[in-house]
Amino acid sequence: MNFDALISEFGQHTVDGLSKGAIYALVALGYTLVYGVLRLINFAHSEVFMVGTFAVLFVWTQVPFEGIPSPGQAVVLLLLALVAATLASGGTALAIERIAYRPLRKKNAPPLIFLITAIGVSLILVEIFGQLLPDLLGRALPELFGRPRQLVGMPTIIEQKDLFTIGHVTVNNIQVIVVVSALVMMALLDWFINKTRYGRGVRAVAQNPETAALMGVNQERVIMLIFVLGGVMAGAAAVLWGIRAGFTLNSVGFVLGLKAFTAAVLGGIGNLRGALLGGLFLGLVEVYGATLFSTQWEDVIAFVVLIVVLMFRPTGLLGESLGRARA
């Protein structure tokens, strides 16, 4: 155990951990939204994120630019990527809902059936992006699908630069962009759910579907809305992933999805602010843990912390609620 390394640069590790956790938090929102309304784990959400990263890659490789883009170009590229990724991820999430989940909801199938369907959908998407598309489009789009199941790098859009230093803590521009955009996205979502008419519908259905129906809330629309919202958040996460991690491949979603889901549960699944807290908390735990022990124990530390937290707070840090506290 290396306490010195942790203590001497505690601030630095905290900044690192927060920027890592911000992406977890954005993806965690997708799990939480769906769970809050439908009480089901959308296991395929990790692939919603994966599709988003491919959309980002598509934009950044197909829009021509030379070397490192100028700040103006970078903003345009980021916005284009954001549009493409949110469309792709939101569309994928919606398609999953319509094609796979809706028939099950009509039959009122128990949650386990949804889970297995989600696993199947996940497998299908991973294989489509890992094998089918490379086989079909490998020649047309070698920058995206060069070789089956192959990691592909994304071009650098923003060069990493240290922005400011406080004491021993150096903060770079990427970290600021990631954390600030994640917070903005989350604030927007929070506002949307809590302050708008659509949000009220979502909360109503989450609290009591029957009453909501009596009050004239169109439940199908609400369900479509939450899938799209989760997808949009995953799309935003994909853009941040692009500037931070800088690569993608068909199986990129699995590990990230697992972490994001852990984050959602940590914070209290079904609870929007819980997803934020859980994501940031998980990012911190991972960086601290990796410094204290070794990076190879990162996941073990994350899961052990999850188990311990759930032992003392069985519904996560903030408890589960997408509108009100539930027993």
């Binding site: 690192d16 920027s19 199941r149 790098g153 650098t156 931070r244 800088g246 990796a290 070794s294």
Partner: protein, 372 residues
């Protein structure tokens, strides 16, 4: 009763399999198997070797109409649990006279006892774990240097560069951790720190801050592209200027592509000859056949197949004769001069290790690394 007897008789027939094709064989020729990860996540590293072997057989069959050799492919996805039933199948089918594989160390380790029990020779183009040949197995051979040899070459390189502070990272895989452990033995005081990451890791801030704290001038990474490409890229973005050195697991076009500009100038060692130095017309032929350069282990796959071709040409027709032939093999191959030591390793003095430098998305040969 009669039906049961018929069923069993039929079963017996099926079980004997195509064993009778042995007798049908002509004066020369026969059947060999090749197994490895031909599909799945790791296929990219193994396909060149398969293609190399196929090319050798194809060229031979085209030139020798009276001596046809059949090469059967068995896909294991690199999984020991899939490789073993395949080994049972190949070992039980008497028409197979030799095996090329395994391509990964795990599947080789798992299947070595099976092939040995069946008296089949195994020639591996790419299983490099050092202890594979330290188990007393009598039918396992490899036409590739082991991790110990390559680690020796890496340390020679690092010494020639006067590396004072080397930071070692590995991915905890049998390959990555193995080669890194071998290197550690040679580094001595030059080791500035080490770190193990997780497979499929994508974000490396903790690792990068350790590299920075160690003020390393060299970073050695043992592992594959999947983790190395994001690592080197994030490292460069964070302003780490230490030279990046990696073994042949990164001799893969996806590595510089995946790292974008991050891999520029990285040094990759590989027990493989540059195309221009490889014997004969192999590189040109390979490129003509498959449209790409041989890449990792293409030449070794070709050599593995060539050993069996030579055995058949020499009129060997049984597993035992072929095993003896492989053991005594002594000839120049396209990847290196091939002659096996008692334990099945290719003669260490014949192993050639080259260093390559990443330029753009290509690997430029730098120099041959002398083995200390």
């Amino acid at each position: 009763m009669g039906i049961a007897a018929a069923m069993l008789a039929a079963a017996g027939c099926q079980d004997a399999g195509s064993g009778d094709s042995n007798t049908a064989a002509a004066e020369c020729g026969g059947k060999i198997a090749i197994f490895g990860a031909f599909s799945g996540d790791n296929a990219g590293l193994v396909i060149p070797s398969l293609n190399g072997a196929k090319l050798a057989i194809k060229q031979h069959n085209a030139a020798n109409a009276n001596c046809q050799i059949e090469l059967k492919e068995f896909d294991t996805q690199g999984d020991p649990a899939q490789a073993t039933p395949i080994a049972n199948q190949v070992a039980g089918d008497q028409s197979f006279l030799g095996v090329i594989g395994g391509h990964f160390s795990g599947e080789s380790d798992a299947t070595m006892p099976v092939y040995e029990a069946a008296g089949l020779a195994m020639v591996s183009p790419s299983a490099t774990r050092t202890d594979l040949t330290a188990k007393g197995n009598k039918s396992f051979f490899r036409v590739v240097g082991n991790d110990g040899t390559q680690a020796g070459a890496v340390s020679t390189y690092l010494k020639s560069q006067n590396a004072a502070k080397v930071f070692m990272i590995d991915d905890g895989s049998a390959y990555g951790a193995g080669i890194t452990a071998e290197l550690e033995k040679n580094l001595g005081a030059a080791l500035a720190g080490k770190e193990k990451i997780q497979e499929k890791q994508a974000q490396f801030e903790a690792t990068i801050s350790k590299i920075k704290n160690a003020q390393a001038d060299f970073v050695f990474y043992g592992g594959y592209t999947r983790e190395a490409a994001p690592l080197v890229r994030q490292m460069r973005a964070a302003g780490v200027t230490a030279k990046f050195v990696g073994p042949d697991g990164l001799y893969d076009p996806a590595f510089p592509q995946g790292a974008q500009k991050g891999a520029e100038g990285a040094i990759i060692t590989c027990p493989c000859l540059p195309a221009s130095k490889a014997g004969g017309t192999f590189s040109a032929d390979f490129e003509k056949e498959y449209g790409i350069a041989p890449g990792s282990y293409g030449a070794e796959g070709f050599d593995g197949a060539t050993i069996y071709i030579d055995a058949f040409k020499a009129g060997k027709k049984t597993r035992a004769d072929i095993l003896a032939f492989v053991k005594a093999y002594d000839k120049q191959g396209v990847s290196k001069y091939i002659k096996f030591a008692e334990n099945g390793d290719v003669d260490p003095s014949k192993v050639v290790i080259w260093s390559y430098q990443v330029k753009g998305i290509t690997f430029e040969p730098l120099q041959e690394l002398k083995l200390s």
